[in-house]
């Protein structure tokens, strides 16, 4: 139970920092809304809903990347990450706490962005929404590990999209498939498989990435 308590404390810490500083969430919100407006001008008249769904997924992935690039910034200052690594808790709890916090920001930005998408472009059904949620889990799980790697490098902001984008291609396929295919449930299975496999892998390997 102490493991869950550690995770809860770490997530709480990130949410509280965000509530006080408001660094990440407003940026993500503004970004995703601006992107949707840009897409309106990028889609020629009569392109149809299918293209809009595709672009929605581009917007989701890039918004997540924006959030992830800020994810480890608080830990970079004052050696917080070193403190967390030295703390008497399992190191994977740090990853899980960060993943949950990033997921909370991403979902919060989508609470505004998805209705805006429906208003501007095309309707979303339940399967499509489930697809968004499952893909959010996958991208935050993988992304928070990759962001921790990128944060230790010389070229952090540049490196993160390069590391994450190839890994998001299966999520893209699953998300777009869930939105436009008549048999969307099959794609949900793919997303669930991705989440399971990559969450376990990220959870197990986080320790190696942060320890000296």
């Amino acid at each position: 139970m102490t493991y869950l308590a550690d995770v809860a404390a770490l997530t709480h810490k990130d949410l509280r920092i965000e509530l006080r500083a408001r660094d990440t969430l407003p940026a993500m919100l503004l970004f995703v809304l601006s992107t949707l407006v840009v897409f309106h001008f990028a889609l020629p008249e009569g392109t149809g809903d299918a293209a809009a769904y595709g672009l929605l997924w581009v917007a989701i992935v890039f918004t997540a990347l924006l959030g992830l690039s800020r994810a480890w910034v608080p830990e970079q200052e004052h050696g917080v990450l070193d403190g967390l690594v030295l703390a008497p808790s399992d190191r994977s709890a740090i990853w899980l706490g960060k993943t949950l916090a990033t997921l909370a920001f991403l979902v919060a930005s989508q609470v505004i962005a998805l209705p805006a998408f429906v208003l501007f472009f095309a309707p979303l059904d339940l399967v499509a929404l489930a697809g968004v949620l499952l893909a959010d889990i996958g991208i935050c799980a993988v992304g928070s590990l990759m962001a921790a790697m990128a944060a230790a490098s010389r070229s952090r902001e540049v490196l993160l999209p390069l590391l994450v984008l190839p890994l998001t291609i299966p999520l893209m396929v699953g998300g777009v498939g869930a939105a436009i295919s008549p048999e969307g449930e099959r794609y949900l299975l793919l997303l669930a498989l991705y989440d399971g496999v990559f969450s376990v892998l990220s959870w197990a390997s986080f320790e190696y990435v942060v320890t000296e």
Partner: protein
């Protein structure tokens, strides 16, 4: 160990020559695709070898994380380096084949080719990651974790790309000609062995070079 390398390299070169000879002269012409089918004897072995190199790199990465022995870091890196080179060659030969048989330089209809493009981008990012981290155990472990993600990404991406065909590309190209005859299969096996051996020799040469380089640097530091 290094002494056996020239012999091995000569053997690999000879086997490559034999493979090319068999592929161009001995193997029968494909009834469907004609001469362009012969790139198969190079393209598929190169692709399989690239997978093998990525797998080897991930295996060495796993050993590094497991045992913590630094030498696996270099072995993992060199295997992935070779895998990326062979991956690039796969993309090039695949593109040539696509041009010859479908009259386009690139097709999203070929699952294998799309998968290779995704993997190629993924492993290019591996080098970006590696070269922007400070040298040391942390770099070794981060690279190893990323290499492990690669082998997991291969089957998941393949599944995803297969599923994506439903909405991106409803018509599937079939490149399966008639069943392979005995000679064709033998030719394929010789080419495969040759390319695998070539990759192994390149792996050993690069590894030997990198190790010499590291030793030399150490010596120089001691002397100063």
């Amino acid at each position: 160990m290094i002494r056996s390398l020239p012999g091995l390299a000569a053997f690999a070169a000879g086997l490559m020559g034999l493979g090319i000879f068999l592929a161009l002269i001995v193997a029968p012409e494909d009834a469907d695709q004609g001469i362009s089918q012969r790139v198969f004897y190079i393209h598929v072995p190169i692709a399989l070898t690239a997978y093998f190199c990525f797998g080897l790199g991930a295996w060495k990465a796993l050993l590094l994380l497991w045992r913590g022995d630094e030498r696996y870091d270099l072995e993992s890196y060199v295997a992935i380096h070779q895998g990326t080179i062979f991956g690039a060659l796969t993309l090039i030969t695949g593109s040539i084949w696509a041009r010859a048989s479908w009259d386009v330089w690139w097709t999203w209809g070929s699952n294998q080719l799309v998968l290779f493009l995704v993997l190629f981008l993924f492993y290019c990012a591996y080098f970006m990651l590696r070269f922007s981290l400070e040298e040391g155990p942390r770099r070794a472990r981060s690279s190893a974790v990323y290499a492990l993600f690669g082998v997991v990404l291969i089957p998941v991406s393949f599944l995803a790309i297969r599923l994506a065909e439903d909405f991106i590309h409803p018509t599937v190209f079939t490149r399966e000609g008639p069943q392979m005859t005995g000679t064709m299969f033998a030719t394929f096996c010789v080419s495969w062995a040759a390319v695998t051996l070539l990759a192994y020799v390149l792996y050993r040469v690069e590894l030997a070079g990198k190790r010499l380089d590291a030793d030399l640097r150490e010596l120089r530091e001691v002397l100063q």
